[in-house]
Symmetry: C2
Subunit: 432 residues, 2 copies
């Protein structure tokens, strides 16, 4: 090594930095597989939610067999999820991101633990439909929160983008599932009252926001797959049913027989989303594997290179860093006018180049990550603003959302900007 | 435990999440001590830079002894820094933040490795003053970049705030050191030309920006200590000398004898800053120790609590999470209207409460962190915009800064907002 000192030198920290990166990527690979497990578990829970609701709603007459089959499938998916978790080394993970992730896992497992008891209550027709929907939805949200956390803590920008896309697709799909439930209930009643349509409208808007972010962070393949869903005859048919639902408030009624068509169309759409989720899941694993391999090869080549350098270490050391050559690598300078090109003797140069490249690469990765994290933060901002309006104005979530949306539309601004200003304003106002 | 399944349960992940937090805090404690080492090393290097400059500038006549003494002190501080680093376990650290941190360390060590060679060149009067200033400044920046990274990757909001304050104080002090050098040279020449005053102005502005952020993130104690410096007679005298420097462009000359007074006043100010740095360093260690202790006690009480719960595990399990009780804990929901209070049977409640509290606390910590990180990101934005203007307009750093400042003043906007827009605009424009 070129260090003239005892103890660890620059090269040791360079290699440690590389090893860190590899460990981070290996963790990401695990996370990707965990997300795939969650995608599957959420899907079957969504179906179980629907069947359980029908079962209880019909006084135990409908969906008994379907529900039994779904519970079995959910059991398989839950087992896989738990097994995968148990295979993870939770003692090695030692950062704040992981600390949040682990607490999300604890949360979701706690929710899963209660599922058995809830199923027994449903068997005995003790639970009411509203409670079932809310309970299953809370459980599903606790699982999606894990996916959110993996996206937020991923250190690789490419993987993070994919996870952000995946999270928003999963979230959009979950909202689509709720639209299915609300619509089914509405058509079954033969009429949508204002409450129903308000909820429907929010669910549709919320889906669109999710899917927009999904598309922004997606590869072209998925954008095309998505477009194929959007352009399908089923989508036209679904839009028609949505219109009927909305106009039924004025017209006074909707055809009850449309309930089955609605359920079939929305289910088809949800299944198509699940296909894209699976494709993203596979790509996620492939991408992480690729990156781990790449980083390992990089580490090996660094080691080799540094060995060669250390065998030449009896040559005189050169001051590459000084003489201004290093200046271009320092991004937080606020002070000097550096104007030198980076030329210097070969030996020092080599170690300097390696260190420099690693620093620059990590820095630009950190900057790229910002974009993906901003999309996640935006989501939080809207949710927080909505919560604030709900508390301060004592209104429902639908009304809070309508208020935000109204301001955004009349001021011709983005929803997230209005949400941010709402929160900023609240800090200025006295609390009550 | 309340889990009905084999494998790890919710309680295990809750404890793992706590352990994670403790590990993160222990790392922060190390980081705080590393930052204290860096503060000391930077300080002696700043003094060595000044003495080396004088030594070479006077053809080896001035400051030879002072320089020798400073080099000795620098050796001690460097040894301490390296020893501290070598005592750190770099294999356990496995996250992206650490990967960046380690690469910054590699960078700084590489710069330090070359210091010996540079000193020999200075001994032989082979180096020119400009190169010496730029070289030492680059070395100091590489050390400050480590502090920046610790502030950026700290997971505890309180510690992060203190590190952000520390970084900006250190950075401001470094810029104050450069102002000292530029002013000394100007007074020694007996005149400040437009180049000199431009640079001086940027250095003063840059300091003020740093100190403002330092104050925003500081405890009252430091704000008071800072105010004492600002209100001192020395500050009045310094402002007077600054004015003389600026008006000398018009007047045509400045009293050469003021050079010594300038040097004494600026040095006194810098030493006062160093005192605050040391106080922050001590507080940082105390704070981290306190937090580690707290977290450990918390973990112990959790363990005890969970043991009690598991001994009661033969009691029936209760569905606390379902029945809507868990709803209030889910922050990424976009879908349900939960309106239940969180009441439920005692046993389930206890584990649920622990998990819930941990999730909520980590979430709100993550949100608080944003503010501190935003201050760091702002700094990066201004630097990047300046760099962009330098490249695209082929102007010096001073001119780029003046341009940004001019736009901000004429549009009555914050410098960082103008910088952000500059970068956003550049993405829209074709590259050249």
């Amino acid at each position: 090594m070129t260090t003239n000192q005892t103890g660890r030198g620059a090269a040791d920290y360079l290699l440690a930095s590389k090893r860190c990166e590899i460990l981070g990527l290996e963790q990401l690979l695990q996370m990707g597989q965990l997300v795939a497990c969650i995608s599957q578990l959420v899907h079957v829970l969504q179906l179980e939610r629907g069947a359980s609701n029908m079962f209880v709603g019909s006084g135990g007459e409908r969906c008994a067999d379907i529900r039994k089959a779904q519970i079995k499938k959910a059991g398989v998916a839950e087992r896989k999820f738990r097994d995968y978790l148990s295979g993870m080394d939770i003692d090695c993970q030692c950062t704040s991101g992981d600390s949040r992730l682990l607490s999300r896992v604890a949360y979701a497992l706690h929710a899963l633990d209660e599922l058995g008891e809830v199923r027994r209550e449903i068997n005995q027709l003790k639970a009411v439909p509203g409670t079932i929907i809310d309970g299953y939805s809370a459980l599903i949200q606790s699982l999606l929160a894990i996916v959110y956390e993996t996206a937020d803590s991923a250190a690789d920008p490419e993987v993070s983008r994919l996870l952000v896309a995946m999270f928003h697709l999963m979230q959009g799909k979950e909202v689509a599932g709720q639209e299915r439930a609300v619509g089914s209930a509405g058509f079954a009643q033969g009429r949508f009252d204002r409450n129903f349509t308000q909820r429907l409208r929010r669910l549709i808007d919320s889906q669109e926001r999710c899917f927009q972010i999904f598309l922004n962070f997606s590869d072209e393949t998925y954008v095309e797959q998505w477009q194929a869903i959007a352009d399908s005859p089923s989508s036209v048919a679904l839009e028609r049913l949505r219109r009927i639902a909305f106009t039924s408030v004025v017209d006074g009624q909707a055809d009850r027989d449309l309930s089955d068509a609605w359920f079939a169309l929305t289910s088809e759409r949800i299944d198509a989303m699940k296909c894209i989720e699976e494709a993203i899941g596979s790509q996620l694993s492939a991408l992480c594997r690729d990156k781990v391999e790449h980083a390992r090869a990089d580490l090996d080549s660094h080691r080799l290179h540094l060995d060669t350098l250390s065998r030449k270490a009896d040559q005189p050391s050169f001051a590459v860093f000084f003489n201004g050559n290093a200046a271009c690598a320092i991004d937080n300078r606020d002070n000097e006018t550096f104007e030198t090109g980076c030329a210097g003797p070969q030996l020092g140069r080599s170690l300097f180049d390696l260190v420099h490249t690693q620093s620059e690469r990590l820095q630009s990765m950190a900057e790229e990550l910002e974009a993906a994290r901003a999309a996640l933060a935006e989501r939080k901002t809207i949710e927080k603003a909505k919560g604030l309006i709900m508390t301060s104005r004592r209104v429902s979530e639908d009304e809070a959302y309508r208020f935000l949306r109204h301001v955004a539309m009349t001021q011709n601004r983005r929803l997230s900007d209005v949400a941010r200003d709402t929160l900023a304003m609240a800090e200025l106002l006295p609390s009550h």
